[in-house]
């Protein structure tokens, strides 16, 4: 009985949240509309109807040489490769630093200096190293994902309950088994905190990389719009960036919910 009422409470909370979100977005669109019609600054940019209309037409139509969906696809492809490689490397290095003192002693000082450098600062070097093609962009996204996952993974590996480690030893686990069956899964919640930041940082970085030099992708849409003085295209790009970023964050949260089910009580 109690369980049911709790669930019901949660469900109605969810409905309220969705309603609030819709109302806020609606209000924002109205403000945008009013702003472009009635204010000096607003008159310089197109209204929501024009932008959403352009997105609707361009989604499977053509903006430049590709449809908006294809531009999203290009950007996503770059993000996915860079993010996958970067976060695997970051998690691996982070766990090693958290678990083996010597790895921390060697890599941590170096890492602390490299980490505060934003990935876009590497753009010139990435071009020298990898040219103007895909590799340079993927390299930048790799950096974004790598630097954001390492520290969280390290914190995760460090915070494993020593008594749980003792329990594993008592049950006969060797060093390698303790690392793979205890340290790694125990760090998953911290790793996910890092992956959340890494995915949004990767998404921001791909756009910056595309704005510097590319012939497709959402970043290109904005730069091309700027060069052609096409305000509608710029805003279409911006809106799509927001929407895709939002969807990526939701996917990450869902993945975390599934993988960290054991970490939440009352389910």
């Amino acid at each position: 009985m109690m369980k049911k009422s709790v669930l019901k409470g949660r469900a109605s909370d969810k409905t309220i949240n969705v309603c609030c979100a819709c109302a806020a977005i609606g209000l924002f669109l109205i403000l945008w509309y009013w702003g472009t019609a009635a204010t000096k600054l607003g008159m310089m940019i197109p209204g929501p109807l024009e932008v959403l209309g352009a997105i609707g037409r361009g989604l499977f139509g053509k903006v430049g040489r590709h449809s908006i969906m294809a531009h999203v696809g290009y950007s996503m492809m770059r993000v996915m490769i860079g993010f996958a490689v970067g976060s695997i490397a970051g998690v691996a290095l982070g766990l090693l630093m958290g678990w083996y003192g010597i790895a921390e002693a060697v890599f941590n000082p170096l890492f602390r200096i490299i980490r505060p450098i934003p990935p876009i600062a590497w753009i010139p070097i990435s071009i020298i190293w990898f040219g103007l093609g895909e590799d340079a962009k993927i390299f930048l996204i790799f950096l974004a994902a790598f630097s954001n996952t390492t520290l969280n993974s390290m914190a995760g590996a460090k915070s494993v309950d020593p008594e749980v480690i003792n329990a594993a030893k008592m049950l006969g686990a060797n060093e390698r088994q303790i690392f793979t069956t205890i340290v790694l899964p125990a760090s998953v919640p911290s790793i996910f905190a890092g992956l959340q930041v890494a995915i949004s940082s990767s998404w921001a970085t791909v756009l910056a990389a595309e704005m510097v030099r590319s012939s497709e992708g959402l970043g290109w849409m904005i730069v091309a719009g700027m060069n052609n003085n096409d305000m509608i295209q710029i805003l279409s790009g911006i809106v799509m960036i927001g929407i895709v970023g939002f969807i990526l964050a939701i996917i990450m949260r869902k993945a975390e919910e599934v993988l960290c089910r054991w970490n939440k009580s009352g389910e």
Partner: protein, 259 residues
């Protein structure tokens, strides 16, 4: 090897002679255990009973092999204890379950590490899950279980490796009084069904008298054995029988005060 020697080894599974343990602290050396002697016989239920911070947990950690002695000799089946081993199972006060594993995952963990095939190990794990009365909760995660049930998982997990010795460090210390009584009865039942040498640490005199074949009363820090009591009251014990109450009164009176 002569019969007598063989029996000697078998009789005394844990042999602890003049064990000392101190820790380095900023204020200098802090001695926790001093000249500790203990012998645990096969299938004996031995209780270490002592005041609050008297080094009982340290003693368990030493026997388990989590920590090393600073002096003296600590032998398991005739060999110095060097590191943790599945033949000495530990039940922790904090349970120390693996929270990302289900009941089954926790209980079968030791066998999995030893490379036992899935079907075989799940069969054996199921056996112990049933023994501790958790059938139906095989797929539950620790967060979904009550405190008493979690400790049942902890007991089954240690039992599943078929250890020679079970080391229990205040396993029921975090439970409420009602659950604690129930778990004491359960532990007695499990121990009767699967006899093992048990070294059980507690600061609860009733618990000690209910479970023990033998009680070692410990002094306050640095800890050593103050007195030994052999408890031969018939099991299951009546907590309000005159003999029980007399022993309870006597042991309580010789125990060091924690304050």
């Amino acid at each position: 090897m002569s019969m007598e020697q063989e029996r000697g080894i078998e009789n005394s599974i844990i042999e602890c002679t003049g064990v000392c343990k101190s820790f380095e602290t900023p204020e200098g050396e802090h001695q926790v255990i001093k000249d500790f002697n203990l012998q645990a016989k096969e299938n004996e239920f031995l209780v270490l009973f002592g005041p609050g911070q008297c080094g009982k947990t340290t003693m368990i950690n030493l026997i388990a092999g989590f920590e090393k002695v600073s002096g003296g000799s600590l032998k398991f089946m005739g060999k110095e204890i060097a590191k943790p081993d599945p033949s000495r199972g530990v039940v922790f006060q904090s349970t120390a379950l693996f929270p990302w594993m289900t009941t089954m995952g926790n209980v079968e963990y030791g066998l999995k590490m030893a490379g036992v095939k899935k079907q075989e190990r799940q069969k054996r794990a199921q056996n112990y899950i049933n023994l501790v009365g958790l059938q139906g909760f095989e797929k539950s995660y620790p967060v979904q279980l009550s405190g008493g049930m979690r400790q049942r998982v902890g007991i089954a997990r240690a039992y599943c490796n078929e250890p020679k010795v079970m080391l229990m460090d205040e396993p029921f210390g975090a439970l409420d009084a009602q659950t604690r009584y129930l778990m004491q009865e359960e532990l007695q039942r499990i121990w009767e069904a699967e006899k093992r040498t048990v070294i059980f640490v507690t600061n609860n005199i009733e618990e000690a008298l209910y479970l023990a074949d033998r009680i070692l009363v410990l002094t306050n820090c640095p800890s050593t054995v103050k007195k030994e009591y052999i408890i031969d009251l018939p099991r299951p014990r009546n907590l309000v029988s005159p003999e029980f109450l007399a022993l309870r009164k006597e042991i309580t009176s010789i125990m060091d005060s924690t304050l």
